[in-house]
């Protein structure tokens, strides 16, 4: 029998034979690959509860593994290792070690919401992906992903001034993630923009990158949001056993 979703089985758990005789019958060709028997004892049954406590993860318990999420997934079409159904399975079974192997993939969810559209059980898989990526960071399994760095840069600008400005976000993100501004595509893009944009507008954009545009009277709203965000960050950290405080978001930074 062929093994479906064979790519999910790690190579070291597969046993392959060119010539195989079982009980005197030559089964070469038909039965060349076997999954090795193994016993898993290191369950962490707390994972589902911890991820459910983070925003987006609330409805993971509804999943009945139909696979509509993975089937519709934008990122899965580029990389079959990106598999929301499988991760939800691992979380619900408590296979922490297996989940952690994909620690640097989960954050790549692009939030297109095709999974949420397709899901017959309202699991909101897009939210589960975000909660799982957040959990992996809070648990200390991985460092803050570029996506988290971007979210934090963007959000702290909104919390401070009420608005964002494209150039300021780009500069802030490149600084945070230690990337160079001199990327070939960016140079071409900026040259083309300079050609087309009126001088007044370019001056205005440069001006806003230096002197941040803000929503008038934003102070009290910004302060209330920051206070609430801090409370939530503490709540999220407390929900994850052994959580790492350095993975929390500080809106003032």
């Amino acid at each position: 029998m062929p093994i479906h979703e064979k790519h999910l089985i790690r190579p070291e758990n597969l046993s392959t034979h060119d010539n195989l005789v079982i009980d005197g019958v030559d089964v070469s060709g038909d039965w060349s690959t076997f999954i090795k028997a193994r016993v898993v004892t290191d369950y962490n049954e707390q994972i589902e509860e911890e991820i459910s406590a983070l925003p987006g993860g609330e409805f993971i318990h509804r999943c009945w593994q139909c696979g509509s999420c993975t089937n519709s997934c934008t990122v899965n079409a580029l990389n079959s290792d990106f598999n929301p159904r499988y991760w939800i399975y691992l979380i619900r079974m408590g296979f922490e070690a297996e989940l952690v192997r994909d620690k640097d993939l989960v954050w790549q969810c692009v939030s297109c919401n095709k999974c949420t559209y397709a899901c017959p059980r309202d699991v909101f898989p897009e939210g589960v992906m975000k909660a799982t990526a957040h959990w992996l960071e809070l648990k200390g399994h991985t460092v803050k992903s570029p996506s988290t760095q971007f979210d934090e840069e963007f959000s702290s600008q909104v919390f401070r001034t009420g608005k964002i400005e494209d150039g300021r976000v780009l500069l802030g993100f490149f600084r945070r993630s230690g990337q160079s501004l001199f990327q070939p595509w960016l140079v071409v893009m900026i040259k083309k923009m300079i050609r087309g944009l009126p001088l007044v507008w370019l001056t205005k954009m440069g001006w806003s990158a230096l002197f941040h545009p803000r929503t008038r009277g934003w102070g009290p709203a910004g302060a209330a949001i920051q206070e609430y965000a801090r409370e939530q960050e503490h709540k999220h950290l407390a929900a994850v056993r052994g959580g790492h405080p350095e993975a929390m978001f500080d809106p003032a930074k």
């Binding site: 009126p198 507008w201 009277g217 709203a221």
Partner: protein, 310 residues
């Protein structure tokens, strides 16, 4: 009040992107509205809706941010309709509307933050949020639009690209998929309808609601470039000369990753990218400059000239 009357004068929420890289979308939306006799009153002192990022910090903060915009439109300006041309803003206002109508926790947080910020708390149902597509489709319609066309798009071959946030997830758009005349979440057609009325030929384009990777356009640029390359190649294979857009993030993403696909992956495509409001404006007799065509990174002026448009 019927939609035709209700949408004649609406509150306008341009959002951050339309003041930055999406400047041409802002300019062309305003110009088309003026040309069609529709009135826009900008929401006073608006703030960011939270885009794709704030929800990953905490979804209820995003609900509050979007609710503040709707509260100002309703309680300080007396509007019952808010029009947002950006898919991200439109999506977030719709999502806040849904969450405030259905989730007690979202209501509590919104009330707490609104009272600390010192403004009236937005109540679900105070305004209807619409997209620029709904606005023109329902206030003007194809028939009237066709009658006002001065400068037909002359069979220009267009692939209409709607993106993710205009249609998904379904539950935040209760008015879609609701019978004849309504927009479809699986096969959206409002942009196709308007551009056909302006004389364009819409090509059979399979990736109308595919994702451009906008959320990770900088943080996972290679993924976004691959996704955009798929969209550009599919549009070219369908025979499109222009991809029409209705979102500043999609539009900038298509332009940026068209360049990046060439510099980083050697994938060259020639299809041009224009906002649907730029195309409509030109059809209505506005000059390319008036709709900001010279500001597009993807320069489509030659494509229009080749079809003797404008």
């Amino acid at each position: 009040m019927d939609k035709k009357t209700a949408y004649k004068k609406v509150a306008y929420y341009p959002g951050c992107a339309l003041e930055g890289t999406g400047h041409a979308y802002n300019k062309s939306t305003r110009a088309v509205g003026k040309k069609l006799g529709l009135e826009l009153e900008e929401v006073k002192n608006w703030n960011c809706c939270g885009a794709m990022e704030v929800k990953n910090i905490d979804p209820k903060i995003q609900t509050y941010l979007s609710s503040r915009v709707m509260s100002i439109a309703a309680n300080e300006m007396g509007h019952s309709v808010v029009m947002a041309p950006c898919n991200g803003c439109y999506h977030n206002l719709k999502k806040a509307e849904y969450d405030l109508a259905h989730d007690e926790g979202s209501r509590e947080v919104t009330e707490r933050l609104s009272s600390k910020a010192g403004h009236t708390t937005y109540e679900a149902g105070q305004v209807e949020t619409i997209h620029a597509l709904d606005w023109i489709k329902d206030a003007i319609g194809e028939e009237e639009l066709a009658a006002r066309v001065k400068n037909s798009l002359n069979g220009l071959k267009i692939a209409n690209y709607y993106g993710c946030m205009y249609t998904r997830p379904r539950h935040i758009f209760p008015e879609k998929d609701s019978g004849p005349g309504s927009e479809s979440t699986s096969a959206p057609h409002f942009m196709d309808d308007l551009l056909a009325a302006a004389g364009a030929e819409n090509v059979d384009f399979a990736l109308k609601t595919a994702c451009c990777g906008g959320a990770h356009t900088l943080s996972d640029a290679d993924t976004s470039t691959k996704l955009v390359a798929n969209i550009l190649i599919a549009a070219e294979e369908a025979g499109a000369e222009v991809i029409a857009t209705e979102c500043p993030t999609c539009h900038t993403g298509l332009e940026m990753h068209q360049i990046r696909a060439e510099t980083n992956f050697g994938i060259k495509t020639n299809v041009k990218v224009m906002y649907f409001t730029q195309l409509l404006g030109i059809a209505l007799g506005l000059s390319p400059r008036k709709v900001g065509l010279q500001e597009n990174v993807s320069d489509g002026r030659a494509a229009l000239k080749a079809r003797q448009i404008g």
